[in-house]
Structure formats: structure tokens, C-alpha cells
């Protein structure tokens, strides 16, 4: 913010000496800034409105014109916030769903790091003749749509009595995110200067030391971002969850199924549940924004 403040001051000073053309450019810049803010708020509005609706009573949730600000009835478009819906959501048994999601996400993240970290390292720093084939093999697994594998997975899980068992989801989410993790980590390992690794090798570091003391500390922020991005996708995943889980192993997205037919009756509770469901990974995504684009493009765009 200090940066932008200084810039604004700079531009104001420049405006004093600017020609008529200069102030036109200035006005265009201000206009574009206003448009950007309006568009940004517009895109964010559905999220904002869901969050505030979660703090309303059911009667207030369907009122039009909409009440937008939780600052009491006196405030323009304001309402008095309540935590009733959050209490009701937990009374309805939201807790176990949340816990299941956390278990699945943490377990699959651990498994992904264990599989992807050595693999990505070898693909960069132990490059072999077939390394690029291996990379493209993983890429191709990412492009295999879920409907191409769900039927055998469902039948095998049924025969193994693994339906409604969280381990099944852990395996599926690991497979789903493995390619992203390998490609992302590969792009981070690739940025380590060659000299650094060579120096470690000259000093007699073996493979384990080279990874543990040199390479992994250097890409640690990238590793964290990779885990965040895998977490976002696993947390939000619905297709495998709805087809492979039932009651015991149900995850957060499945809690939302209960609201599919709520015709204006439980919007405030829906909104409260939706807010709880989405916020953990929305926050992770905000934190990992810089690496997000790299993750989404398999490391192709930095």
C-alpha cells in the first residue's frame, strides 16, 4: 500500500505539470482503476453474499432488497448477525464431514509428497534417456477424465469392501494430483543453479544428502505451494467422493447434497455450511496465489 501511495503522489505531482493530453491519460487511468474495482467486486459478490447470508435468520435470508451488511438494522441494507445457523450446522453433524475431509487431504498430501518429491528430483538432476517420456506419461494421467476410470474403481472397491472407506479416496486423490505435483516440483527443482548441485557433489554429498540438505531446502516454498494446490483440488473434489463414499466416509462436499432441494427454506443454513466448506481452501488459494498459475498450467507458465 505504501508503494501505491507513493505512486499516486508521484502521478499527482506529474499531473501539475502535465499537458492537456497528459491529464487525459491520467483520467483514463483513473477510469480503468474504477472499472477494475467494480468488476472485481462484482466477481466477488456471490462469495460475499453467501458469507453474509450465513449470519442471517432464515426469514432475513430471502428478503429483497437484499440485506448486505451485518451492522444492525439501523445501518443502510444492514441486519443483525446471528450465529444460529453455524450452531444448527454442527447440530446436523457437519463435524464428522469436516474431519473426514481433513484426514483425506492430509493423508493424500503426505503420500503425494512421498511419491512426487523423489520422482521430480530424479527427473531434473538424475536425468536419463527416458526422463521426458516419464514426464509425458504423468501428464497423460492428468488428462484421463474421472469417468474413464470410475467404473472399474467402483467395482474393485465394492469387491474389496472399500466403499465408504476413506483410504479409497486417499488413493484416488493422490492419483488425481500426482501429475500436477511432479510437474510443479520439477519446475521448481529446475530453477536450482547447476553449480549448487555440482558443488554438493564435489564435496562428496550422496543422493540423500544432496536432496535433504541442498535441493529440498532451496525449493521449500515451492513445495509448500505444491501441497496447497493439491489440497485445494482434493478438498473441493466431489465426483469420486459421491460415487465411492456413503455415510461413514462422507466428505464436506457431500454435506452440501442435503441442500439441493431446499426451495427457499434453509438458505441461511446452506450459506453457513457453504462458507465453512469453502473458506479453508479459499484462504490457502489466496496465500498461494503467486504459484497458482504455475500449478494450473502444470508448471508451463511461471
Amino acid at each position: 500500500m505504501a508503494m501505491t501511495g507513493r505512486l499516486a503522489l508521484g502521478s499527482r505531482q506529474r499531473a501539475k505539470v502535465a499537458t492537456r493530453q497528459g491529464s487525459a491519460v491520467e483520467r483514463a487511468g483513473t477510469l480503468r482503476a474504477i472499472v477494475a474495482w467494480v468488476v472485481g467486486l462484482l466477481f466477488f459478490f456471490p462469495v460475499f453474499y453467501l458469507i453474509v447470508t450465513g449470519f442471517k435468520t432464515e426469514a432475513a435470508a430471502v428478503l429483497l432488497p437484499p440485506q448486505l451488511f451485518p451492522f444492525g438494522d439501523q445501518f443502510p441494507a444492514g441486519f443483525t448477525p446471528t450465529l444460529e445457523n453455524y450452531k444448527a450446522i454442527f447440530d446436523r453433524g457437519f463435524g464428522p464431514y469436516f474431519l473426514n475431509s481433513i484426514i483425506v487431504v492430509v493423508a493424500s498430501s503426505v503420500l503425494i509428497v512421498a511419491l512426487a518429491l523423489p520422482c521430480a528430483y530424479a527427473l531434473v538432476w538424475r536425468r536419463g534417456k527416458r526422463s521426458s517420456n516419464v514426464m509425458f506419461f504423468f501428464l497423460s494421467t492428468k488428462f484421463l477424465p474421472a469417468v474413464g476410470v470410475i467404473i472399474p474403481i467402483f467395482i474393485i472397491a465394492r469387491d474389496l469392501h472399500a466403499i465408504d472407506n476413506l483410504a479409497t479416496l486417499v488413493v484416488m486423490y493422490t492419483a488425481m494430483n500426482l501429475a500436477i505435483a511432479i510437474w510443479l516440483l520439477r519446475s521448481f527443482f529446475d530453477e536450482i543453479p547447476r553449480d549448487v548441485i555440482q558443488a554438493a557433489r564435489v564435496d562428496g554429498a550422496d543422493l540423500r544428502m544432496e536432496m535433504q540438505y541442498v535441493a529440498i531446502p532451496m525449493i521449500f516454498p515451492g513445495l509448500v505451494a505444491t501441497v496447497f494446490i493439491c489440497t485445494i483440488f482434493a478438498w473441493n473434489e466431489f465426483f469420486f467422493a459421491v460415487n465411492l463414499m456413503a455415510t461413514k466416509g462422507a466428505t464436506v462436499p457431500m454435506f452440501m447434497i442435503g441442500f439441493v432441494t431446499s426451495e427457499g427454506l434453509f438458505w441461511a443454513k446452506l450459506a453457513a455450511a457453504g462458507t465453512l466448506a469453502m473458506m479453508p481452501v479459499v484462504v490457502l488459494g489466496w496465500l498461494a496465489q503467486k504459484q497458482l498459475v504455475r500449478g494450473l498450467s502444470m508448471g508451463a507458465v511461471k
Partner: protein, 307 residues
């Protein structure tokens, strides 16, 4: 020869010992490859095998090998063709709209202005929201014909009230998908814009290019490969769209919003028809792979641009 290869050479089962030797030589890469093969490639191979069987889970005693019979059935049956058309419309219009909006958003946040980082954070949030929550939130608070904000705004300016998911269900679904994917495309295109040096844009201004000329002759050609990336990734993911449909229309009214993934889901988990569902699954994979192969061709070019 390494120890592993010597061991491999001595054992009486050459294929097994060859595999064992390969794992020993590729200890870092092998676990990930084996995992991916077992969980993704092997099930897909089974899907192909299932697609050649007549097999209903409710009547397993009637199962038999059916050759290409399932494929002939689904290609001559209305529901598959209808779902294919829905899939194409849904994917094409969503990708096109998200790309155009994404370009606009990227241009908008590429310039410096007070609070740019906050606006960018606001803009990417739709992509982070759990898709089932996004779908429910839109369906109720925004697009509900009686209590929704969109219809309230429309009726207050004199437009007719519209029950989106009954009258124009595809438009409702496309709206939600575009809201989620336009920010995704913005992120990739923004990276593209930032790779375009300011000097090039300044130079075109000095040479007297108008903003629209600058955009058309400088920015768009530069963004070409990023736009291709957006289209390919968007297509691959939106083709497989399931969550939004499940949460809003459940494929209806009738089969007006039943796309291929939703039809396959219904075939397996409602009709228990493994054979036909598998054949449809194989066809979806084929379609996705056609797009994916373009992506793979594009990748080296993009990576070069980023070095």
C-alpha cells in the same frame, strides 16, 4: 552390469526379474510410476474391457462378451447423441465466454492502480470456491426466480421474471461455469501479459498506435499461445463437468442438461449398466485425448517463452 542386472540375469523368470531390475535401477521414479499405472492406466484398461461386455450389475447372470455391440448401441441411441450435443454446447460456449472475459480481466489488472493486489485476489476467488458450494449459492441466492437477486434486479428495471433452471437451464449452468473459469483464464493470460515487455508496448504508442491497434497487433499475437493453453485446459476440464449439473438441475428438465459425464454417472449408479457406461467412458477419454495431444504439442513452445 549392476548387481540388480546380474540378479535379474540369473533368475528363471526373465519378465519378472526384468521388472525387478528396472525398479532397482529407477528407485526414485518407480514408486510414482507404479502408483499411477495401478490407479489410472489399469482401471482405464479395465474400462475398455468392460465396454466390450454386456453387463448389468443387477442381472450379472446375463453377462456375456458383446464385442463392439455396446458402441453400436450407444451411437444409435438418442441419449448418447443428445448428451454429446449438450457437452459440446456447454464446453464450447463456456470456454469461449470465459476466454473473452478472461482477456478483459487480465488487461484490467495488468495496469498499476491502487489496490491492484486486492482486486486480483477478489477476482481469483471464484476459482477457489468449492464447485458444489458455488453451484448451490448461484442456484439459490442469485438465480432463484422468486428470492434471487438477479431476478429481483431484472424485474425492478422492467424485465420479465425468469426461472433460469426451468426455462434456460443451460444458460444458468454456463453462467456458473464461466464465473469460475474466467478467473482461471485471467491468471494464465496475466502471466502472458507480464511476459510482454513494457518497452514493446511503449514503442507502439510512440509509433502512434491507438489503444485498440496496440491491443490487436501487439498484445493479441503475443498472447496467442497463452490463449491456446486456456482453451485446451478449459476444454479438458469443462468437458468433464459434473458437480454443477448435479447440484443444480440433475441433468434436467428431461435430459436438457445431461452431459456425457452425467449420463455415464446415471448409467452406472442409477441403471447399473456397466457395459454401456464403460463404452461411453471410453469415447469421452478418446475425445479428451484429442485435445490433450494438442496441449502436449503446445507445451515446449510455452516453456521456451518462459525461460
Amino acid at each position: 552390469m549392476t548387481q540388480a542386472e546380474l540378479v535379474a540375469a540369473r533368475t528363471p523368470f526373465p519378465i519378472v526379474s526384468g521388472v525387478v531390475g528396472w525398479i532397482k535401477r529407477n528407485g526414485l521414479v518407480a514408486p510414482a510410476i507404479i502408483f499411477a499405472v495401478v490407479v489410472t492406466q489399469a482401471p482405464f484398461a479395465l474400462t475398455i474391457w468392460f465396454s466390450l461386455q454386456k453387463w448389468n450389475l443387477l442381472r450379472p447372470e446375463n453377462s456375456r462378451f458383446n464385442g463392439l455391440g455396446n458402441y453400436i448401441d450407444i451411437l444409435t441411441r438418442g441419449d448418447f447423441i443428445s448428451a454429446l450435443i449438450v457437452t459440446v454446447i456447454l464446453t464450447f460456449s463456456s470456454v469461449a465466454a470465459a476466454l473473452i472475459i478472461g482477456i478483459g480481466l487480465a488487461e484490467l489488472v495488468n495496469q498499476r492502480f491502487p489496490g491492484r493486489n486486492i482486486v486480483r485476489t477478489l477476482l481469483i476467488t471464484p476459482f477457489l470456491v468449492m464447485p458444489v458450494v458455488a453451484a448451490l449459492g448461484w442456484k439459490t441466492t442469485l438465480l432463484n426466480p422468486v428470492f434471487g437477486i438477479v431476478d429481483w434486479l431484472m424485474t425492478s428495471v422492467g424485465l420479465p421474471r425468469i426461472d433460469w433452471f426451468a426455462e434456460y437451464p443451460l444458460i444458468g449452468i454456463i453462467t456458473i461455469i464461466v464465473w469460475r473459469w474466467a478467473p482461471f483464464m485471467m491468471l494464465i493470460l496475466l502471466a502472458g501479459l507480464q511476459a510482454l515487455s513494457d518497452e514493446v508496448r511503449e514503442a507502439s504508442k510512440v509509433d502512434g498506435a491507438s489503444p485498440s491497434q496496440e491491443f490487436r497487433f501487439i498484445v493479441l499475437p503475443h498472447l496467442k499461445s497463452y490463449m491456446q493453453l486456456c482453451v485446451l485446459l478449459g476444454t479438458i476440464y469443462i468437458l468433464a463437468e459434473f458437480d454443477t449439473i448435479y447440484m443444480t438441475t440433475q441433468g434436467g428438465p428431461g435430459d436438457r442438461t445431461t452431459n456425457l459425464p452425467y449420463l455415464i454417472y446415471q448409467q452406472v449408479f442409477v441403471s447399473s449398466d456397466v457395459g454401456h457406461a464403460s463404452a461411453m467412458g471410453v469415447l469421452v477419454v478418446v475425445i479428451v485425448y484429442v485435445f490433450a495431444s494438442y496441449f502436449i504439442k503446445l507445451l515446449p513452445q510455452l516453456m521456451k517463452g518462459n525461460q
